[in-house]
Symmetry: C2
Subunit: 125 residues, 2 copies
Amino acid sequence: MTPTSIPTAGAAVGGRVLDHPARDEIRIEGVLHALADPMRLRVVRELAAAESELTCSHIDLPVSKSTSTHHFRVLRESGIVRQFYRGTAKMNGLRRDDLEALFPGLLDSVLDAANRQAHRGDGTR
Amino acid sequence: MTPTSIPTAGAAVGGRVLDHPARDEIRIEGVLHALADPMRLRVVRELAAAESELTCSHIDLPVSKSTSTHHFRVLRESGIVRQFYRGTAKMNGLRRDDLEALFPGLLDSVLDAANRQAHRGDGTR
């Protein structure tokens, strides 16, 4: 009968648990806010292209380590990304199933939009 | 040969011109940022439901006049809404054609997501 902390919406590996919103806590405003930043959108595009979990260090952003950590946290707290430890590496995976169940087609339309913009002939990304 | 100011991307009625981004200046990050705010998302949902231009005062937001004006400006400057004067009334219309050409399916997937969230059984909007 020992009280136990159950990480209902977390992902625990190796004893370290990171907070995640449960599916029904994910809000469209938070998702759009998270995706509205160029660096975070880049992370999401890389995760989508990889179709698997990636370490934070695998996704090389042209920002400081602390800024990068901030961006990953925003993605996790908005419900877009699930973060967990594999040994000492912090892994990141898209919460495709949760997002698709809540907001069908949204993630793919944003990824498509970002892809179209990246390939516009205006020279900017 | 008088120099003339041509409002290439503006909408001029009655001499007052409001700045709008041209289609190819509309950026996905700006669109997502604009849609990430609950008040602005509400405006976009009302404009989509109306399927016509609405005055700012028709869309009654529970915020101050200056905050409301700010939200409409963000929507205009991001390329989501076209604003123009009809007499003394400032009208607002969704730039559906521009958004659909740039980011097919994006606006509808966001509207659908917002609608689903509003109808979730969690009592919040």
